[in-house]
């Protein structure tokens, strides 16, 4: 019963077809709902949803590393910061169009992630977690140090992008769609990558590194690539978040952010692509919910909810949904 979820277990053929159709229908329904939201929600809510999507991209990135590849990072807030600042600096200092800043963030974070991944590879498990935590701690200070570029402690405002004139959307609606589109694109890329040869190698390294090596997987290269890819996703998320918040400062990227991201991945569900969205909902809305329960000790509520999540849904929110889905389909068939 408690065997680990393995991606390439194949159910009976007939069941797969039916499942796949239902799943596809569900996904299209959700997507239609997401596209309808801008016409029924306030700008403020759209801003919140855009934040959810940005977090979801970051969680997706972190999940590739932690969920699929088994490397724990407590430093992804740093890549989120690099992405945010890349966008801010490119727009404010160099007047580059905001659309170009996303791929630049992605490439830059891929490079930093890959380079950081190379030495960090020699560290396993908790040691890697600590090394990445150092990254999370140092980035705010590095940002303050290069104040000619980053605006120092004052931070930088990022102008809100206007929608292309033909679309007649207000800035919040436009950002919502932009973030949603990027999220979808990156989800599809992640899905394709992880389903194929590369994904199998990545997962094999997680489950049994020695066996993977023996099978001819270049562990060091794949782990570094995985780190780079993960950082790249998180960087793009940081760029989008900077656009929707309209402000970056070193205080926006405290070490707590990295921990929050990791918590989001685990709550959403390790090694699950849809889990990223569920985790992002937790990251975005749980602090406010905790405050509504108790103004005196919101963090205690937050902590209690985390522990509750771990007990009630050990496979994360996505694992729980999967479980419910299986029960439901068994009942129906």
């Amino acid at each position: 019963m408690s065997a680990p979820r393995i991606e390439w277990v194949v159910p009976a053929a007939g069941a797969t077809d039916r499942h796949a159709i239902w799943k596809k229908a569900g996904a299209i329904g959700l997507l239609a709902l997401a596209c309808a939201l801008p016409w029924v929600s306030s700008d403020y809510s759209l801003f919140q949803y855009s934040q959810v999507y940005s977090y979801a991209i970051a969680l997706l990135g972190l999940n590739i590393l932690t969920g699929y590849n088994g490397q724990i990072s407590l430093g992804h807030g740093a890549f989120y910061a690099v992405g945010g600042y890349t966008t801010a600096i490119l727009i404010e200092r160099w007047g580059i169009g905001y659309g170009w800043t996303l791929p630049v963030s992605g490439v830059l974070c891929f490079a930093t992630g890959f380079l950081f991944g190379l030495p960090a590879l020699r560290l396993a498990g908790t040691y890697l977690a600590l090394a990445t935590f150092a990254l999370a701690l140092s980035v705010p200070q590095i940002l303050k140090h290069f104040d000619r570029w980053t605006g120092g402690t004052q931070g930088m405002t990022v102008p809100k992008p206007d929608s292309p004139p033909i679309l007649h959307l207000n800035p919040d609606q436009w950002l919502y769609f932009l973030t949603l589109a990027v999220l979808l694109g990156l989800m599809i890329i992640a899905w394709n990558l992880l389903r194929g040869r590369i994904g199998r190698a990545i997962i094999a390294i997680r489950d049994h590194p020695v066996a993977a090596e023996a099978m001819g997987v270049h562990n060091a290269l794949y782990k570094s690539l995985c780190f780079g890819l993960s950082a790249s996703y998180t960087g793009i998320a940081g760029s989008l978040a900077a656009l929707s918040v309209g402000f970056v400062s070193p205080d926006s990227f405290s070490a707590l952010l990295s921990i929050t991201l990791l918590a989001g991945v685990v709550v959403g569900g390790l090694a699950s692509i849809s889990g990223a969205i569920l985790g992002a909902i937790f990251v975005q809305f749980m602090p406010n919910a905790a405050l509504q329960i108790s103004k005196a000790a919101p963090w205690a509520i937050y902590g209690a909810s985390l522990i509750l999540c771990m007990y009630v849904m050990p496979g994360g929110a996505a694992g729980l949904l999967q479980h419910l889905w299986q029960r439901l389909s068994r009942l129906l068939s």
């Binding site: 303050k144 309209g246 970056v248 926006s252 103004k295």
Partner: protein, 412 residues
């Protein structure tokens, strides 16, 4: 056909209802947040996170508006005070500001706390033309009537306070050698700037050592050791409470006994002075602008008695030794004054106009003689302070009020 008809009639009902709601809320003023019976005010506070101790200000403000509402409100309007947590993170501050302005439709945002949070919402508030009134931070940049006419501070700016120390030092110890410990952010940098402006041409000669720290540093031990080794005889301690305590204790441990100036941010007895111990704290100088509950000279002061009665009745869970509760009471009173002065024209523009038109306003819990003055070109409400020396148990005021407004001139 039938369906379209039904939808159409439903739409008509809905639009009629919407029109009614709009006219009900908008009958009185063009701006949102005001009705005949209510003024809706927003606020953002760090109730959670690294500086949650400041949360008492939010609870104090709420308690003051409860008292005000019990007494009938302002011109028959009750204050509806909505206060949200941002955990001291800029992204959440933006989220809460948007929630207040767009969803809750407040008239303005009052006393949002923290320099990073206020910086994050600065542009948004000014773009939206919604007052960001009496922000709870001493950063000097809030007084920018030209670039940011919808934002105003309240407490003495950090530069103003530092200027006051510099004036005192020039007068009493002109040959001092000063060592500075500062937090590596706006707060620290502002402070040093004001201090050097106050010293003028003597600054280069007098300030002999500077050390910075990050709020994430575990201790400031090495910085204090470096400052001691510089041979300075004056120590300007520009730190937040946790680090202030560390710095004071470490200086005492090392046997360094300079004349110490401690920023007003960290004068709390319960979190800094008492834990540091009498030996380490005796003789430290700071600048104050509010009356202190623990100062016996106000024992029979009617204003203090009134404040204390308010605390007991409306905020009994609050700590009367906590100066933030005096602060909350006073800044709320300033706001009430502005709203009364605005009369029935409760538009956002008029609220801002009246906030920039305070003339010689004295408040019961400000130190005697301190007057709040603002004008369309002066967005710095409080600019006078009085020095106080710690005697091992409490702060004892000494000397005259010192006016720090001249720092504005030297800034130009």
């Amino acid at each position: 056909m039938a369906v379209t008809k039904k939808v159409w009639s439903m739409a008509k009902y809905a639009s009629a209802l919407a029109a009614m709601l709009i006219s009900a809320s908008g009958a009185f003023a063009a701006d949102p947040g005001v009705t005949k019976t209510e003024i809706k005010i927003g606020n953002i506070m760090p109730y959670s996170g690294p500086v949650s101790a400041y949360g008492t200000i939010g609870r104090g403000l709420d308690a003051y508006f409860k008292k005000l509402n019990d007494e009938g409100g302002i011109n028959g309007r009750k204050i509806n005070f909505l206060s949200y947590d941002d955990a001291y993170t800029p992204a959440r501050a933006v989220e809460q500001a948007r929630r207040l302005v767009e969803q809750d439709q407040v008239l303005f945002v009052f006393q949002p706390l923290g320099t990073p949070s206020n910086s994050a919402i600065w542009k948004y508030m000014n773009d939206k033309k919604v007052p960001q009134l009496f922000v709870a931070t001493g950063a000097t940049k809030w007084g920018d009537p030209v670039g940011h006419p919808w934002t105003m501070g309240w407490q003495p700016a950090y530069q103003t306070e530092a200027y006051v120390y510099a004036q005192y030092l020039l007068k009493t110890k002109p040959d001092a050698k000063v060592a500075v410990l500062l937090q590596n952010d706006d707060f620290g940098k502002d402070y040093l700037k004001g201090f050097k402006a106050g010293l003028g041409t003597a600054a280069a000669k007098m300030v002999i050592a500077e050390q910075t720290y990050e709020t994430t540093d575990p201790t400031v031990d090495s910085q204090i050791a470096n400052l001691k080794n510089s041979g300075a005889d004056v120590f300007l301690n520009v730190t937040t409470p946790k680090f202030a305590l560390q710095a004071i204790k470490k200086a005492a441990d090392l046997g360094w006994k300079p004349l110490q100036f401690l920023t007003n941010v960290s004068t709390s007895l319960s979190t800094v002075m008492t834990p540091a111990g009498v030996e380490a704290t005796k003789g430290i100088v700071t600048a104050l602008y509010l009356k202190d509950y623990d100062d016996p000279q106000w024992k029979d002061d009617p204003a203090m008695k009134e404040w204390f009665a308010w605390m007991k009745k409306y905020y009994p869970q609050g700590n009367e030794h906590d100066q933030f509760n005096v602060y909350a009471y006073s800044v709320a009173q300033t706001l009430v004054h502005v709203l009364k002065q605005a009369g029935n024209d409760l538009s956002r523009a008029n609220v801002m106009k009246q906030a920039a038109n305070l003339k010689d306003l004295s408040l019961p819990m400000l130190l005697p003689g301190i007057k709040i003055n603002t004008s369309p070109t002066d967005f710095y409400p409080i600019e006078q302070e009085q020095l106080a020396r710690y005697d091992g148990a409490r702060w004892v005021l000494f000397g005259e009020l010192i006016d720090g407004s001249a720092v504005r001139v030297s800034r130009r």
